[in-house]
Structure formats: structure tokens, C-alpha cells
């Protein structure tokens, strides 16, 4: 939407004053979500039955947006749909920065009243140049300012990635999933019906946002495919963009009078567009979060030659199959390296040829792992780092795990190559769920990408290699 002023959008997305309109008890979810908000929070509610509950929370309530003294940067609108135009009119009159509209029941209902109301909002906001997020959305999450749309969203500094989602559920899911993987989500924008601001506007904003180093998107379609693909092409030149396109139904009728037309399914064109623009295409929430973790936590691979360290013979075969199927090479190492391994590596029931079968060499001690990683760091053939089957149990002393993670940290810092950890749910090293979860949390806290299967690790790292090496082979 070219009519929206970028400074105004920036003000709306980085609010210092927030007004929640129409929140209801007993939960007062929208107000409760903002309990850590770093700026000034106000409530607007006309209903006398609701006001005491709001004031009990220590939040000042007004009967109208226009009664609030001072500027309002963002309005969170949670009123019934028929009231929405009145809230928008007040917001326009007050000159607020923008509106995030949770209210639903518009064109998505496909019923005349909803469509008519939506058209009215479009007209009002377009005329006023009002940035409107939604409607029918969860709105915005801001890590720094603690603007939130749900429980469990972190408040803090930093930011590794920002999220744009056409679905509120998936926006929350990707954000939570990324947080669980130790990723700091700078912003999440749930875009809903996108009647004023749409996916292209948000992408353009985040592309130029210095606090957003990477972007992840969930989309079911686009309002303007040409504009979106143009902006996406620019965005991927500045920062990585992960796109999960949901929905395989064809959008709109297509005249088909040619061979080409009959083969050009909507999905085929989306897939082609994502490749052409240099986006990282994923097909599920797991793949999205896996790719995010890989992107944020691994150093840049410069090729597809990887060292695979498994703990048993069977696992060394399984891990190799997966990494090969995602385009990795598992190269033989140099004679010099093999000579060094021969000095200490347990070859009875083990192997150091790459893939490694290393349980009997590594056990739970750090010393031999240190030797292995030192040799691999000197090995010039490896350019995609190390993927290590990681034990979920058996760290005898509390310091063991930290010591091992220190070694892996040293390796990636020394080589600038990725390290990913694989904790297969069905592996012989998977402990009881609780112990495994504790180990995983400690691994994640040290900034490692960890995956629950060889397949998911191979797929995620494969995408990171593709992203970093695209154009190199042409």
C-alpha cells in the first residue's frame, strides 16, 4: 500500500504508547498480554461492567480514544465488528500511529455484512493513510518493547529473526518454536486479512529494519504477486528469507489454451518464484523452525563436504544416507588425518573413515572428542562442518556436557564452519524424555542447532548450504 507513510508505519510498529480498545473480563487477555510493555498502556472501554476489572489491574481506562491525553502510537482493537468503524474513526481523528485489529467477522466470513464492513474500513483507512494491521489477526509482537499477543513470548534485547504470518496460529507457532530453539525473535506480525498493509508492505519494512537480521514468513497467497516477488528478490539480497507457503489450491481461474498453461499449477509457480527470488522454501512448521535454527546458530558453510560423527555402525549408515540424500558429500579424509586418528581411535567396533563410528572412542569423555575435532579442523576437504550424533544421557559429572559443548564451540569458532547436533528420538543414546529435554535445553542455551532426527538436521543444513552457496556454481 503505497499510501502508507513509512515513518508512520515505523511509529505503529515501535509504539511507546499503546491503547487497548474493547478488552473484556474475566481474563482481559489483551491488557494482560501487555503487562511487561515498556511504554504507557491505556484501556478504552465503554462498558461499565468491564471498567472495574480493568482499573483493578492498575490500568487507566477511558471512555473514548479521543479522551486519552497525549499521542497514541498503536491501538489494539478488540471490539465487536460492528463497532470497529467507530474505533477507526476515533483513531483517525486522534491521529494515532496505527491500528492492530484483532476483531474478525469481515470478508473472511464471505457474508454480505462482513464484506460491507471490511469495505468501509478499507475506505476509511485508505483516505486517512492509516496503517492497519489485520483485521482478523493477532497483531504485533515486539521483543524489545514487550508488545505481545500471547503468553510465553520473551521480553529482552537482541533479535535474530522476525516473522510475518498470514495465520495467527502459525505466527505464534513459529515464534514459540524459534524461541525453544534458542532463537531471539525480534518481531512477529500476524497479518490477517491484510486489507491495508499486506505481506509486501511488512516484508519491505523488515527488509530495511536494521534490527531484523533474517525473516521467516508463512503465507497462503499474495495480494499482488508481482510486487511481492519483486520485494522478495530485493529482500533476499539483504538478508535470508524463509518462506513457508501453505495451501495447494489454485488461486483464481486460469485460462488454459496451451500445453504450458495446463502444466503451470499454482504450486509449481510458487515453487519457481521462491527459487527465482532466492528465498529458502520450507513446507511445514517443523521445517520452518529447523531452518531458522540452522540459519541463526550455524556459521556459514562454504560447500557440501561434511564430517558425520555417529555413535554406532548402524547410525553411521543411517546418518550418511540422510546427508547424501540432501546433497552432501561425506568425503574421505587425508592420509595425514587418518594417521593421526590411528594413534588413539578405537577401531574395534569403531571407524574414523568418515562417517565416524565413535561411541567407543568418545564415550562420555571430552578428551578424545577434542582430538577428533582438532584433526577435523585441520582437514581442508571439510567445508560444511560437522554433524554429530549427540548423546541425550550419560553425562556422569555435571561439567561433562559443558566441556563437550566448549569443544564444539572451539571447533566452529576456529573453522567458521557449521556444527549441528542430532539427538534422534529413537537413537540408542536417547535417554528418558526428561533427561533428554534437559540436555537439549543446555545445548540450545549454548547456541547450537539441535535436531530430533538425522533427516531433519540434513534437510535444514542442506537449505543453509543452498542459501549461502547460491550463485557460486554458475
Amino acid at each position: 500500500m503505497a499510501l502508507i507513510d513509512q515513518e508512520r508505519l515505523h511509529r505503529a510498529l515501535n509504539p511507546r504508547t499503546l491503547a487497548v480498545v474493547g478488552d473484556k473480563g474475566p481474563q482481559y487477555n489483551w491488557l494482560t498480554n501487555q503487562k511487561d510493555f515498556t511504554g504507557e498502556l491505556y484501556s478504552v472501554q465503554l462498558d461499565e461492567n468491564e471498567i472495574p476489572g480493568i482499573e483493578e489491574k492498575g490500568i487507566t481506562n477511558y471512555k473514548s480514544l479521543k479522551d486519552i491525553p497525549g499521542d497514541i502510537d498503536l491501538v489494539i482493537c478488540a471490539v465487536p465488528r460492528q463497532v470497529a468503524p467507530y474505533v477507526v474513526a476515533d483513531a483517525i481523528e486522534k491521529g494515532v500511529g496505527g491500528i492492530s485489529m484483532f476483531t474478525s467477522g469481515f470478508a473472511e466470513t464471505k457474508e454480505p455484512q462482513g464484506i460491507e464492513l471490511q469495505e468501509k474500513l478499507v475506505q476509511m483507512c485508505t483516505d486517512a493513510g492509516m496503517p492497519l494491521v489485520g483485521p482478523n489477526c493477532m497483531g504485533v509482537y515486539d521483543r524489545h518493547l514487550a508488545v505481545k499477543f500471547g503468553n510465553g513470548l520473551e521480553h529482552g534485547d537482541g533479535g535474530d529473526i522476525s516473522v510475518i504470518s498470514q495465520s495467527g496460529t502459525h505466527g505464534i507457532g513459529i515464534t514459540n518454536g524459534a524461541q525453544s530453539a534458542g532463537v531471539k525473535v525480534r518481531r512477529t506480525i500476524s497479518i490477517g486479512n491484510s486489507i491495508i498493509l499486506n505481506e509486501s508492505d511488512y516484508l519491505a519494512y523488515l527488509m530495511n529494519d536494521p534490527e531484523t537480521p533474517a525473516i521467516a514468513m508463512y503465507l497462503e497467497g499474495t495480494k499482488d504477486g508481482r510486487r511481492f516477488s519483486n520485494i522478495l528478490r530485493q529482500a533476499t539480497k539483504k538478508k535470508p528469507v524463509i518462506v513457508w507457503k501453505g495451501g495447494r489450491s489454485t488461486a483464481g481461474a486460469r485460462a488454459v489454451n496451451s500445453h504450458t498453461g495446463s502444466l503451470a499449477s499454482s504450486q509449481a509457480i510458487w515453487d519457481a518464484m521462491l527459487k527465482q527470488t532466492g528465498a529458502i522454501a520450507v513446507a511445514s512448521i517443523e521445517e520452518a523452525v529447523d531452518a531458522i535454527a540452522g540459519l541463526v546458530h550455524t556459521k556459514q558453510p562454504t560447500g557440501r563436504n561434511i564430517a558425520l560423527i555417529a555413535m554406532t555402525g548402524g547410525q553411521s549408515v543411517a546418518i550418511t544416507d540422510q546427508f547424501e540424500s540432501y546433497g552432501f558429500n561425506i568425503p574421505e579424509l587425508s592420509d595425514a588425518s587418518y594417521a593421526r586418528f590411528a594413534e588413539f581411535f578405537t577401531v574395534i567396533g569403531g571407524s574414523y573413515r568418515n562417517p565416524f563410528d565413535a561411541a567407543s572412542t568418545i564415550r562420555s569423555e571430552a578428551e578424545n572428542l577434542q582430538k577428533i575435532l582438532e584433526i577435523l579442523a585441520d582437514e581442508s576437504v571439510i567445508d560444511a562442518g560437522v554433524a554429530l550424533e549427540f548423546r541425550s544421557r550419560g553425562f556422569e559429572k555435571p561439567g561433562d556436557l559443558d566441556e563437550i559443548l566448549d569443544l564444539l564451540d572451539d571447533y566452529r569458532n576456529k573453522t567458521d564452519h557449521p556444527v549441528i547436533l542430532l539427538m534422534p528420538t529413537h537413537g540408542v543414546l536417547s535417554g528418558n524424555t526428561e533427561e533428554a529435554a534437559q540436555v537439549k535445553d543446555r545445548v540450545v542455551a549454548r547456541g547450537f542447532a539441535v535436531y530430533p532426527s538425522f533427516q531433519r538436521g540434513a534437510q535444514a543444513l542442506g537449505r543453509i548450504v543452498d542459501y549461502h552457496t547460491v550463485g557460486a556454481e554458475a
Partner: protein
């Protein structure tokens, strides 16, 4: 609007004839088999003399899709006498099979040597607008649907990827002892078609089928262009 498209629109047509399609593409720098329209036997002989023998002769009518089924195509015409005879033969056959068809004339086309068959296509996506397709000819496209797409306009890198993305690419790249096709020439052809689509938003769909890829060069042998239902 392009003159050829404007003329077809003026006649109420929703498709270009093969001759028009090739003129349009040729003007845009796409290598096409030399194809000329003749409305008399004399014109046909003159066209064939200029193109060089042997030639292919085909009926040109927007209403006749399956030209060879009704005797509308004669291959391997070797000299002027044969051109005159073929002209009469095609005219008679079409008069019998499709007496009311709107006929432009007869196309005289250079008979180009067989190459590796590929298809280069274009269509209009409801969300992304003009897009291009690439595939190997015959069974690869029809049965295996081994095709790739890119959004117009294509950059050099997109043409590179479009061609290499199909599973059958090794067949163009010298697999099983075949001669390597001139992939650079195919890339240039793809980029020229992309430019034609970008410059002519009235083109809704386009099939260059087949394109012959040679060890040196590539050429569109047949071309089909469908216009959008609304004037762009």
C-alpha cells in the same frame, strides 16, 4: 500494441496464426524457422526459392488446429514444380474438409534439420502474471511433466536455472553418448522469449513446440500464441 497483435485483434481473433506468431517472435530476436505466407502458388514458389529447398508447406487458418489430419501439410517439397502442386493439393484438401474455414493462405517454411526437441512455453499466472516454462519435448513433457518455471522477466541466471532444473537435463548435456546441445543458445532463446512476453502483455499463452536444440544453435520450429481475453 504490437502491429501483428493489433491486426489479429482487429479481425476479432484470440490467437495468432503460426506465421504471425513467428513474425512476432522473430522480430523480438527469437530464432524461428523461416516461415512465409503465400496466398497464390506464384507467391509460394517465390517464397520457397528465397528460403531454399526443401520446404514444408502448411495451411494457415486460425480455425484449423490439426492441420495434418485434413491434408493441410506437405513435407519435403523439393522444387518449384512441386511447390505449385503442393499448393493446389492443400487448397483442395482444405476446401473439402473445412469449406467455411477462414483461411489466410499457405505457409512456406524452411525444412530445418532434426535436433533435440525441447518446449519453451509461457502462460499467465493469476497471482504472478507472465511466467515461462521449459521442458524436453515429447514424452518428457506429456507423460512425466518434467518441466520448470520462472517468472517473467527472466535474468541470465534464471534462464540458466530454468534449463538445468529439469530432471532430463543430462540428455541435453551429453548423457549416454549424445552430442551436447548448445545450452547457451537455449538460454538466449529463453531470454528473448521472456522479453517478448514482457513487451507484449496481450500474450496470455505461448508454446514454442518444438524448439530444436543443436550442437550449435537452437531454433523454434513451430509457434503458437494465444491472446488475452481482455486487451492489456
Amino acid at each position: 500494441m504490437n502491429d501483428i497483435i493489433a491486426a489479429a485483434r482487429a479481425r476479432g481473433r484470440s490467437q495468432l496464426t503460426e506465421v504471425e506468431a513467428k513474425q512476432l517472435l522473430g522480430a523480438g530476436g527469437v530464432p524461428v524457422a523461416d516461415t512465409r505466407l503465400a496466398t497464390t502458388a506464384e507467391e509460394a514458389v517465390s517464397a520457397a526459392d528465397s528460403i531454399g529447398y526443401p520446404v514444408v508447406m502448411k495451411i494457415v487458418s486460425p480455425e484449423i488446429a490439426h492441420k495434418s489430419d485434413i491434408g493441410g501439410v506437405v513435407l519435403g517439397v523439393e522444387n518449384a514444380t512441386s511447390v505449385s502442386a503442393a499448393f493446389a493439393k492443400i487448397t483442395d484438401a482444405v476446401a473439402k474438409a473445412a469449406p467455411n474455414a477462414d483461411v489466410d493462405g499457405i505457409a512456406v517454411q524452411a525444412m530445418v534439420p532434426q535436433g533435440t526437441e525441447v518446449i519453451v512455453g509461457g502462460t499467465t499466472d493469476p497471482q504472478f502474471g507472465p511466467v515461462m516454462m521449459f521442458g524436453l519435448g515429447g514424452v518428457f513433457v506429456e507423460i512425466l511433466e518434467d518441466v520448470s518455471f520462472r517468472i517473467v522477466p527472466l535474468e541470465q541466471r534464471d534462464a540458466h536455472d530454468l534449463i538445468r532444473e529439469i530432471k532430463g537435463f543430462p540428455l541435453l548435456d551429453g548423457a549416454r553418448g549424445q552430442e551436447k546441445a548448445d545450452v547457451a543458445a537455449l538460454e538466449q532463446l529463453v531470454l528473448k522469449v521472456s522479453a517478448v512476453m514482457e513487451d507484449n502483455p496481450d500474450i496470455a499463452e505461448l508454446d514454442l513446440n518444438p524448439v530444436f536444440a543443436y550442437t550449435d544453435g537452437a531454433i523454434a520450429v513451430d509457434a503458437h500464441i494465444v491472446l488475452s481475453s481482455e486487451v492489456a
